[in-house]
Amino acid sequence: MAHPYIPNSVPAVRERMLKAVGAASVEEFYADIPESIRLRRPLDLPAPLRSEAELVRHLDGLLARNTPGALSFLGAGCYQHHVPAVVDEVATRSEFLTAYAGEPYEDHGRFQALWEYQSLMGELLELDVVNVPTYDGFQATGTALRMAGRVTGRRTLLIVGPVDPDKLSKIADYVRPDHDVVLVDAAAVADLDLSADVAAVYCETPNYHGILDASVPALAARAHAAGALLVAGCNPISLGVVAPPSAYGADIVCGDIQPLGIRMSFGGGNAGFIATRDDPRLVSEFPSRLFGVIPTTVEGEYGFGDVDYERTSFAVREEGKEWVGTAAALHGIMAGVYLALMGPQGMREIGETILANTAYAQRRLAEIPGVEAPSAAAGQVSFADFLVRFTGSLTAAEVNTRLLALGIHGGKVLSATDALYCVTEIHTREDIDRLAQALEEITA
C-alpha cells in the first residue's frame, strides 16, 4: 500500500524506476555502505499511525495533558502578547512556510519580506543595519559580544546585571575561548575602572528584572572613553515609548523578537536580532545574512541580495565570522507583519499600556501585607517584568503552588522570597486585581 507522503512507494512505480536505472533492487544504491555497519533489523519503533485520523487522535491525547489559557503572570524572557490573526495568516502560507533559502528570482517574496523586516526593525531601533534573524536573543547577545571582541581585539566582557542566568550560561559557553566574562551591578559600574582590556560593556533596557535603569544612558560614554563598545539588549516591544539604545550611544543592539507577534510555544518562539550603525567596521563582523535592496536592469524595480557575502561561513568556511545557517527567518517575517500592523500608533499604545499595567500591578500588590514590589519601592520604572518579594511565611514557590490551585500562574521564582512577575497589554485591570485578591487570600 502506497504511503500518502511517498508517491513512488507504489510497487509498480518502484519497479519501473529501478528498471529505468538498471538496478535490481535498492540495495545496489547502498553498495558503498559496508556490511559491518548495516543495521540488519528493523528499527525498534512504535507501530505507525497509518491513518491521519489515528495520528490526530494520538496527538490530541498528548496535547490534552497540557493546560494553556490560565491567567498567567509569567514572563522572564518569553512573553504573552496578543498575536494578530494576520500574522498567523501570513506565517502559515504554504509559500512561506515550506520555502527555504531559494534564489532572488523565484523566491523574491521571501527576500523582500525579510528585507522589510530588517527595515521595520531599523526604524524601531533607529539603526541602519539589522540582520536576518539568528536563532534567539541568547545567540544574538553572544554574537554581539563576539563582534565587539573582534572589533576591539580585546578580551574582557563587562556584563551589567541583573541578567538572566540562562543567558549568562549561554554567553559564557559561547565566548569561552576568546573572552572573560565579568558580571557587575549597574550601580557598581560607576565605580569601576574600565581597563584597556574591556571589549564591551553589555547592558539591558529593560533588564532581566524588567527595570528601565536610569543609569544606563551614561554607560555609552564610559565605555567609549575606555575604547570599548556598548552592546545593549532591549525588548523591542517597548520601543514605541522607550528610547532605542542607539539614542544613548549603543554600538550594537541585540535581543529577541518573540514579543513581536510570535507565540510562546513553550519557549519555541524565539528569534534574535542584531543591529548596528552602517559602519563597515561593524557590518563586516556580522555572521548572519544581511539582505540588501538593489536595482535591476529595469528602471524602478527592486531586487534583493546578500550584503558583503564574503563575511560568512557560507563563503569562506571557518575563515568567516562565526557561522551562518538555517535560523529563524519566518519569525522575522512574522515580526515584520506585526510591526506593519501596529505602526507607530500601535507601538506607542502598547508601550503605554504595558507601562501602566506594570506600574499598577506593583502598586496593587505592594498594598498587600507581606508582599513588596522592591523596584517600585526604589523608584524604578519597570516594563512588563517586575520583582515581587514575599516577606511572609510562604516562599515564592509555595505562593505559586497555591496560586495554581486558584487557576493562576505566578511569576518565575528567583529565590525563597523573590519572584519575577509579568504583565502585558493582554492583562486587564481586573486580571491584576484577581491576582491581588488571590495573593491577599494566600498570604493572609
Partner: protein
C-alpha cells in the same frame, strides 16, 4: 504582481490593528530612556498589510508549490499539513515554558518520546533537542567535545578538529568558534575523503573528527569505520553530521559506525518545514560517555511524571532559551509516528531510488557530469558539474539556475569554495513523483539546449520572474549597500 515595498504603501493615519488602551496612569520614564520621536513605521489598514504579504507570498515558491528537488543537501520534503495543526493548537502555541510542570505533561512527554525515537534511529544513548537548528547542534556537539576533553584535563592539548571539504561549512566554522584549529581533508580522486590525509592529520592534538556521511556529493564514505578508528586511536572523539541522513534511515546508524556524537536536522530528515530558513530544530545524540555534558535541562520520566532536570553540573549549560524549538519537535514526533520503522526505511529507499533515477536522467543532458566515483551510485543527493557546458558555451551554472526560475523552479549550486566546478546539487527526496523528476530533468535539458543553441536567452534570464536581472555590484560596496529602508533613503533614495 510586482508588489511595491511596504514603505511605499504607507498612508498616514491608517492602522492595521487595534491595541488595548488603558485609563491607568502611565509612569514617566527616566531621563534619556523616553523615546523622543515615533518610529517611522509605515501606516496601513489591516487589509493592505495582508494584501501586501499575500502578494509577496505568491512571489515565492516552496516545497508545496514547485518541484523542489534543486536545493540539494537541504532535504526539501513534504511537511504534512496535519502536523502543522498540532503546533497552532493552543495546547502548544499558548504554553509558557515556565508553567508548572503539572500543566505541561503532554509536551514534556512528546519531547521525551521524541528523544526515545531518535535514540533508536541513531543508536545513541541520549539525545538533546535543545539546539535551534543544524548548525546550532553542530556547535553544541563541539562544545560538548570541548567539555569532555576539559574534564579529562586535555583541553589545552587537544586543540585541533578535523573535518572534510564536503562536510557542511558549519562543521569547520563551529569548531573555529569553539576555539579549535580546523584541518580540512580534501577528497581523493574518487571523491572519498582522503584517508592518507587523515592519517597525517590525527594525533595527540586531535580533539575530534567532524564528518558528514554521505557527504554533500551524495557519496558515502565506505571507509568510515576506519576514519572513526583512526580518530579514536588518537584519543579524539568522532562526531557525525547527519544532515544527509534521509537516504540511510534504518540502513545504518551513527552508533553502528562507532560515533560518539551525532546530530540530525529535524527540518530536513524529519520533515519540519523549512520556513524560508528557520525556525528549524536540531538534535544532538551522544554516547554514554558524553551524557554528563549535554545541554541542560533534560527531560526525565519517573514512570508517572515527566520533569525538567536542570541540575547537571558538568553540562555545557544552555544552548538556547528554554527547551528547543518545541513546535518543530512536535511536528517531527508526529511525522515519525506516522511512519514507523517500515515507513522510515521506505523513505530512505525511495529517496535513494529517486536520486539515482534523476541522476540517470540528468546525465543524459549535454554538458553535465557527476564528478567522482564514476559509475557508482549516489545515496540521496548528487553534485553535478556543468563544466563541459561552460567550456562549450561560456554559460555558468548560476545562469542555468536563473533561467530555470522561468520554468517555475530553481536549484542550488554548492557551498563555497566550488571544489566541483560549475556545480549543481540535486536531492529529490521521497516526496516527488516519477513524473515530477521527469519534468524537472526536462526543464534542465531545455535550458541546456538553450545554452547551446540560444545562449542569449539564458544569459539575459530571468524573463518570467517577478523581477529582472539584478545589479549585484552594489551589495559589496559600503557606499551603496542598503540593509534597511532607512539606509536606502539616505544613500540612494530620491527623497523617498
Amino acid at each position: 504582481w510586482d508588489e511595491p515595498l511596504l514603505f511605499e504603501l504607507t498612508s498616514p493615519g491608517e492602522r492595521g490593528v487595534g491595541v488595548p488602551t488603558t485609563d491607568l496612569p502611565v509612569p514617566a520614564l527616566p531621563a534619556g530612556l523616553a523615546r523622543e520621536s515615533a518610529p517611522q513605521l509605515p501606516e496601513l489598514s489591516q487589509l493592505h498589510v495582508l494584501r501586501h504579504y499575500l502578494r509577496l507570498s505568491q512571489e515565492n515558491l516552496g516545497v508545496d508549490l514547485n518541484i523542489d528537488v534543486g536545493q540539494g543537501t537541504c532535504t526539501m520534503k513534504y511537511s504534512p499539513k496535519v502536523n502543522d495543526t498540532f503546533v497552532v493548537d493552543q495546547r502548544i502555541s499558548e504554553l509558557h515554558p515556565l508553567q508548572d510542570e503539572s500543566t505541561v505533561q503532554g509536551v514534556l512527554e512528546i519531547i521525551y518520546r521524541l528523544e526515545g525515537l531518535l535514540k533508536e534511529i541513531s543508536g545513541m544513548d541520549r539525545v538533546s533537542l535543545q539546539p535551534g537548528a543544524g548548525s546550532a547542534a553542530i556547535y553544541a556537539n563541539v562544545s560538548m567535545i570541548r567539555a569532555y576533553h576539559a574534564s579529562r584535563g586535555e583541553a589545552e592539548q587537544r586543540d585541533e578538529v578535523i573535518t572534510t571539504m564536503f562536510s557542511h561549512p558549519s562543521n569547520a566554522a563551529c569548531a573555529k568558534v569553539a576555539g579549535y584549529k580546523v584541518i580540512t581533508l580534501m577528497p581523493d580522486e574518487d571523491g572519498y575523503p582522503d584517508i592518507e590525509a587523515l592519517r597525517a592529520a590525527v594525533g595527540p592534538r586531535t580533539a575530534a573528527l567532524l564528518i558528514t556521511n554521505p557527504e554533500d556529493t551524495g557519496i558515502f564514505n565506505p571507509r568510515i569505520e576506519e576514519f572513526v578508528r583512526l580518530a579514536h586511536e588518537a584519543g579524539g572523539l568522532c562526531c557525525y553530521d547527519q544532515a544527509n541522513a534521509n537516504g540511510i534511515l534504518g540502513i545504518t546508524r551513527a552508533r553502528d559506525a562507532g560515533f560518539d556524537l551525532c546530530h540530525f536536522n529535524l527540518h530536513k530528515t524529519f520533515s519540519t518545514p523549512h520556513a524560508c530558513g528557520g525556525p528549524a530544530a536540531g538534535a544532538c545524540g551522544v554516547s554514554e560517555a558524553l551524557v554528563p555534558f549535554l545541554p541542560r535541562p533534560t527531560v526525565e520520566f519517573d514512570g508517572s511524571r515527566y520533569r525538567l532536570e536542570d541540575d547537571r553540573p558538568e553540562s555545557v549549560g544552555k544552548i538556547r532559551p528554554f527547551y528547543g524549538v518545541v513546535p518543530n519537535l512536535v511536528r517531527a514526533y508526529a511525522w515519525i509516528m506516522s511512519m514507523g520503522a517500515e515507513g522510515l526505511r521506505e523513505v530512505a529507499e525511495t529517496a535513494v531510488l529517486n536520486n539515482n533515477y534523476l541522476m540517470a536522467k540528468v546525465l543524459e543532458i549535454r554538458g553535465v557530469s557527476a564528478p567522482y566515483a564514476k559509475g557508482r551510485r549516489r545515496v540521496e543527493q548528487a553534485r553535478y558539474s556543468w563544466e563541459q557546458l561552460n567550456a562549450d558555451t561560456g554559460i555558468h551554472s548560476e545562469q542555468i539556475g536563473v533561467r530555470a526560475a522561468d520554468f517555475g523552479t530553481h536549484y542550488w549550486t554548492s557551498h563555497h569554495p566550488y571544489v566541483v566546478p560549475e556545480p549543481m546539487t540535486l536531492e529529490p527526496t521521497e516526496s516527488y513523483s516519477q513524473a515530477d523528476l521527469d519534468e524537472y530533468a526536462a526543464i534542465l535539458a531545455e535550458v541546456a539546449r538553450e545554452a547551446y543553441e540560444e545562449p542569449e536567452v539564458v544569459r539575459t534570464a530571468p524573463h518570467r520572474s517577478t523581477i529582472h536581472q539584478l545589479r549585484q555590484e552594489s551589495l559589496d560596496d559600503p557606499d551603496t549597500w542598503a540593509v534597511t529602508w532607512r539606509a536606502y533613503r539616505r544613500k540612494l533614495g530620491a527623497g523617498a
